[in-house]
Amino acid sequence: MNQKINLAPEVLAYMEKLNGSDGVEVVVNLPKEKVEQINEICNSFDNDPQELINVLHETQHLFGYLPAEVQDVIAHNLHLPVAHVYGVVTFYSYFTMLPKGEHPISVCTGTACYVRGAEKVLEEFKKELNIKVGETTPDGRFSINCLRCVGACGLAPVVLVGEKVYGRVSPDGVKAILAEYDK
């Protein structure tokens, strides 16, 4: 099977940017072993449609994101319409259809961080990397997301890069943080 799909313009525009393609049709390939990995996850939940959120959770943990073809395989295994799976993926902000960067940046915009200037820190990251929240840099190195409270309000504003926590971040400190990941 090798079928062409029409994606929403917003998703498409972004995928085109990522793939550097100028066509309107996107064909994404999924290697056999990945399909088998998804099948395993679905099997571990007895292919129960009620377990969709758990299956998505584990699958995203494995792949880092939930592209269309992964949702297709899950829908097929759980006997759900793929539209329904997509509906759940797009409802929860935790799930993402776009690959995160090698170094995913999470800026806490919870109450404490917010009042201590997280917004300005976030703006600085966006400016430095020239991407919006939820996007990944074209070279795949960084992505930006917001989260609500990591339980370190004493260190507000807090930024996570991967698993590493940075406290009391100021807009001026953004460049230095990014520099740590420049090889």
């Binding site: 099977m1 079928q3 319409p81």
Partner: protein, 590 residues
Amino acid sequence: MIRLTIDKKTIEVEPGTTILKAARKVGVEIPTLCHFELCDMGIENKPGGCRICVVEVEGRRNLAPSCITEVQEGMVINTHNIRVLNARTTVLKLIISDHPFDCLVCAKSGDCELQDLARQFGIRTVPYGGEQSHYRKDTSPSIIRDVDKCIMCRRCEMMCNEVQTVGALSAVNRGFMSVVAPAFEMNLEDSPCTYCGQCVSVCPTGALTEVDHTNDIIRALSDPKKTVVVQTAPAVRAALGEEFGLEPGTLVTGRMVSALRELGFDHVFDTDFSADLTIMEEGTELLQRLRGHLAGDSSVRLPILTSCCPGWVNFFEHNFPDLLDVPSTAKSPQQMFGAIAKSWFADKIGVNRKDLVVVSIMPCLAKKYECQRDEFSIDGNPDVDFSISTRELAAFIKQANIDFLNLPEGDFDDPLGESSGAGVIFGNTGGVIEAACRTAYELHTGKTLEKVEFEALRGMEGIRSATIDFDGLPLHIGIAHGLGNARKLLDEVREGRSQYHAIEIMACPGGCIGGGGQPFHHGNSEILARRAAAIYSEDERKTIRKSHENPSIIRLYREFLGEPGSHKAHSLLHTEYFPKSNEVTINMQS
């Protein structure tokens, strides 16, 4: 029983009754928007999302949505006091604040539940500014999605998933960004949509509408080089009158014929004729398969499934690609008509098929897609050029200033306008298989059927079964209407558990009378029952009630086709099916 007071009226109702339904029992009509019900069919949508139906429950702090709040002992409810009316008006203004103000050019104008509410509540200004939805319009061969007009009632989602089990539509995204859309927000055309149109038939606004082909027809009618013929499906005559204020169930066959003639069609024909033709071909196929099966031929596939419903054809192509050899290969009546009109009839009147325009009036939206399928055209010239719905015809008649109610009773033209009662009942669930039985019984047994009505095959239950005695041979028949019910019977076939010799399937609840192109019933299942009764009464009025006794059909075989199932009949009247994958993107690399 639970006692409560609604607008000073005391009432006792069963536990579990909602305030909305309790109110209706005492004649109090609470306005609703997202709520939708087809009660006899167990179809109900009540997400409690729109909050138009809020009422005041004394002693409760907030207003309660009446469609999802169950009654409690001693409740005192006010459904229309100032507090409630204020809340409803505010809610309505908020809904309208993100709705395009293009009622003047909206296909749903005059039949829009949101517009009705705005009028009822006297909304003159909307004080709330702010963001507006701007989503692309999605046009498929049958259905247009304009989700800027969507109010997220999710009736379409309920129809598509729970009733039809098609799964093309789902609510996606969150908050202001949420829309009802196919997976990955792709176009409907690329989704598993069957074009059954049930989403359109329940949409309260203009978010889901049919593709309108009226202007194509006007163009053809005004072209002096074209000969334009029209065919009308059985279910249209039982519903068209509703658009002109007639009681549901009023048959308007004669007036419809006169109206079509006034509109300028050169020949007014009847799909009932080709329904008879379908019975000749499908009935013959049924007998052939049955005899093969009885003779022990293991290559014969049983049960045979009817194939005249294009929504159903799309459904099995998508969901049962492994069972494509089970349905009858007979084309639908619409397509049989087109094939015969552009061959036998075109030759008769000496017109080249390219100068003959075939228009069909259908209760259906899937027919729009069906007539555009590649296999139903020759050198790019389709057998059926345009298919319009009952609603589009009504609008066309009004536009042409035809006094429909006072038209004389017209008669269909010959030869493609003559039909039997068997052709008429195609419009009801169970009708096709009943028509097939009338013919197959007589062909199989050589005896005359004493009573042509097979009552056991009639009714409105979603799945029905009956055993018909074919002179000692018990023929097991299954009937399903609504694609969710069809799926259950097909799963049995797939698993080898099916006990049936023949199964009739119609995609829409009630059959064609409840089709996606019919006048909006707004959830009133009584309307469907009356349409069904009208169809059966038209059958009773006919002198000829069996397809194989239709003189024009006999003539068509004698002059042109030869025998049912002949080589010529096969090339013109039969088709093949194509597997369609539901998986949109999987590309396996080994």
